[in-house]
């Protein structure tokens, strides 16, 4: 079955979501991925939305992290402090993040391109990203894969990844044992090297070569001897996405 780049991203992000875990879900691809995961392999995935929705069914696709569909038939509709504090006390497994730039340590920029006081491009700002990246156990970034986005140095470090490397998070005061876990891009699935905390290629997307990934990454990527290949979206995934999850094609 034919599929769009966005659909592939959604499917691969979706497959990172484990059943029975909890995840902060941002707008867009993570919402679709969570809705898909709940219908595929993770019926007990608990989607958390930062403005208070928790344990909703995701029957209707939300358009924003505060919208009424985030708590439709949910177990609880609370507030932003409650949700962020749940993460701060260590009860949230995953956080999904996006950004305009990512660096080798998984730090993210969603604030500005160019100097902060007179930016070339002013981006939306942290929102909940910094909080989610600080307090969730594992974060997963969803990115478009280009050399201008995978950069050696961010214009602005909005959200902490591993900062400058091993031990840096803890030294900065961030909670022990937390940090970036995966990057899902339109070219590949990436992780982090345990010893150096630097980004590492795990698997390429269908039809993408290792060389292409390297060329589209603006820093030196760790490429292990064995690199996997991601499965393309299945027919069931695509059908669910197109007919059930996003029938009015807001995203797909």
């Amino acid at each position: 079955m034919e599929y769009k780049s966005n659909e592939l991203l959604i499917c691969i992000a979706s497959r990172q979501m484990e059943d029975g875990t909890s995840a902060f879900i941002g707008t867009g691809i993570p919402m679709l991925a969570a809705a898909l995961a709940k219908r595929m392999h993770a019926p007990n995935l608990v989607p958390l939305f930062e403005f208070g929705g928790i344990g909703g069914t995701l029957e209707h696709l939300p358009l924003g992290v505060g919208d009424s569909k985030t708590f439709y038939k949910a177990f609880a509709a609370l507030g932003i402090c409650d949700l962020m504090e749940t993460a701060q006390r260590g009860m949230v497994d995953y956080g999904f993040l996006g950004g305009a730039q990512i660096d080798p340590y998984g730090n993210l920029n969603s604030t500005c391109i160019g100097p902060h006081d007179r930016p070339k491009v002013r981006l939306p700002g942290s929102g909940g990203a910094n909080d989610i990246g600080s307090s969730c156990w594992k974060t997963i970034a969803v990115m478009q894969h280009t050399a201008r986005r995978f950069v050696p140095k961010l214009d602005f470090l909005t959200t902490a990844g591993y900062l400058t490397g091993p031990g840096a998070r803890e030294a900065a005061g961030l909670p022990k044992g937390t940090g970036p876990y995966r990057v899902v891009s339109n070219l590949a699935l990436l992780g982090y090297d345990e010893a150096t905390c630097r980004m590492k290629l795990l698997a390429t997307n269908p039809g993408v070569t290792v060389q292409q990934v390297i060329e589209n990454t603006g820093f030196e990527l760790i490429v292990p001897d064995k690199v996997g290949v991601n499965e393309p979206p299945t027919e069931r995934e695509l059908t669910l996405l197109r007919n059930d999850i996003d029938p009015t094609h807001l995203y797909v």
Binding site: T27, G28, F49, E50, F51, G52, H60, L63, G64, V65, G66, D67, S68, K69, T70, F71, Y72, A77, L78, G79, I80, C81, M84, Q88, N107, T111, C112, H116, D117, R118, P119, K120, V121, R122, L123, P124, G125, S126, G127, G128, A129, N130, D131, S134, S135, L154, F156, L157, T158, T159, A160, L163, A168, R169, A172, G173, L174, P175, L250, Y251
Partner: protein
């Protein structure tokens, strides 16, 4: 503590809680009075030039659009604002009402980044210090608690910290390093809610966002509501009062007050209006045309509802999800 990390930006407000206490003592009272007034009067009486204001909730969800259009209409020029927000704070920026902001997020989520924020920030017209969503909510929570700072684990190690006005503090029990977030007691808080009585006892359905915190972290509080209910009804369900009367300075009856945004259990967002608005924001000229049509040229909230039309409003109502 001079070697402790600290953000480089100043604060729009110094978090002096003894000053806040004295202000509350002199200006706020628990006396039960009638606080219903129209939007024009609420803004004129409680928003002064130079004020630091904050709005709740977020995006196009339960946002106090009616009150913000009123602020634009009254032509304020030197407000500052805290927060996340989308359309309501975009209108304030586009309307030239805002000088400085302590920002967490301004964007359109699925519809992309904010053209209005881009123009204001990239031209240097708007001064911005950056914070995270939880940081802002906790800063309001600290003010609500009557303490001048609160520890948090957000923002540490990042430029978000460095370009904020936050500092750090060490836990005297564990030695743990925390971000010290300064309390934010804003001059005016603006909230849109489902219902209230005439004294200002407010109920909100669905997620509470940061309404609890903002209501308590505002020197003056304007609440617009979909519906005004009797105090007998409030007294029957005291456990549903999120904002007690003495926090509230003005209750404004604004049905569809979040339009073109949504109000859970009441009405859906007006997707077409939003799309047209976002398109308009692509140029400054079209933005001003939109503002003229949808704010300056309308005398009040009722005129907006008339312009949208009863049929359209009824349709938006019919599209709300039930419980």
């Amino acid at each position: 503590m001079s070697e402790m990390p600290a953000g480089g930006k100043g604060l729009l407000l110094h978090p002096d809680m003894d000053e806040v206490r004295a202000w509350m003592h002199a200006n706020k009272s628990m006396r039960v009075t009638d606080k219903v007034m129209d939007g024009h009067e609420a803004v004129r009486r409680f928003v002064r030039e130079g004020d630091f204001i904050a709005t709740e909730l977020y995006g196009s969800v339960r946002a106090p659009m009616g009150i913000c259009r009123e602020i634009v209409r009254q032509g304020y020029k030197t407000l500052n604002f805290a927060g996340q927000g989308v359309m309501e704070t975009e209108l304030l920026i586009a309307g030239g009402c805002v000088k400085k902001t302590e920002l967490t997020y301004q964007g359109w989520e699925v519809y992309g980044i904010s053209n209005i924020l881009r123009r204001a920030a990239e031209s240097g017209a708007l001064e911005i210090s950056d914070w995270s969503n939880a940081a802002l909510a906790w800063r309001l929570k600290a003010a609500a608690m009557g303490i001048s700072f609160i520890p948090a684990r957000s923002m540490l190690g990042t430029d978000t910290f460095r370009y904020s006005g936050a500092k750090t503090v060490i836990c005297p029990f564990t030695g743990q390093l925390y971000t010290a977030l300064p309390a934010t007691m804003v001059d005016v808080g603006i909230i849109h809610a489902h219902r209230a009585d005439r004294h200002g006892n407010v109920q909100i359905d669905g997620i509470s966002g940061f309404a609890w915190e903002l209501a308590r972290a505002s020197k003056r509080l304007i609440v617009s509501v979909e519906e005004i209910i009797s105090s007998d009804e409030v007294r029957k369900w005291p456990d549903r009062t999120m904002i007690p009367w003495f926090l509230t300075d003005a209750i404004v009856h604004h049905p569809f007050g979040s339009f073109p945004g949504e109000m859970c259990f009441c009405y859906d967002r007006d997707q077409e209006h939003l799309k047209a608005y976002i398109e308009a924001t692509e140029t400054e000229e079209c933005t001003q045309k939109y503002l003229k049509e949808w704010a300056y040229d309308l005398p009040d909230h009722q005129a907006l509802l008339d312009k949208v039309g009863a049929d359209r409003l009824a349709w938006l109502k019919s599209r709300a999800l039930g419980r």
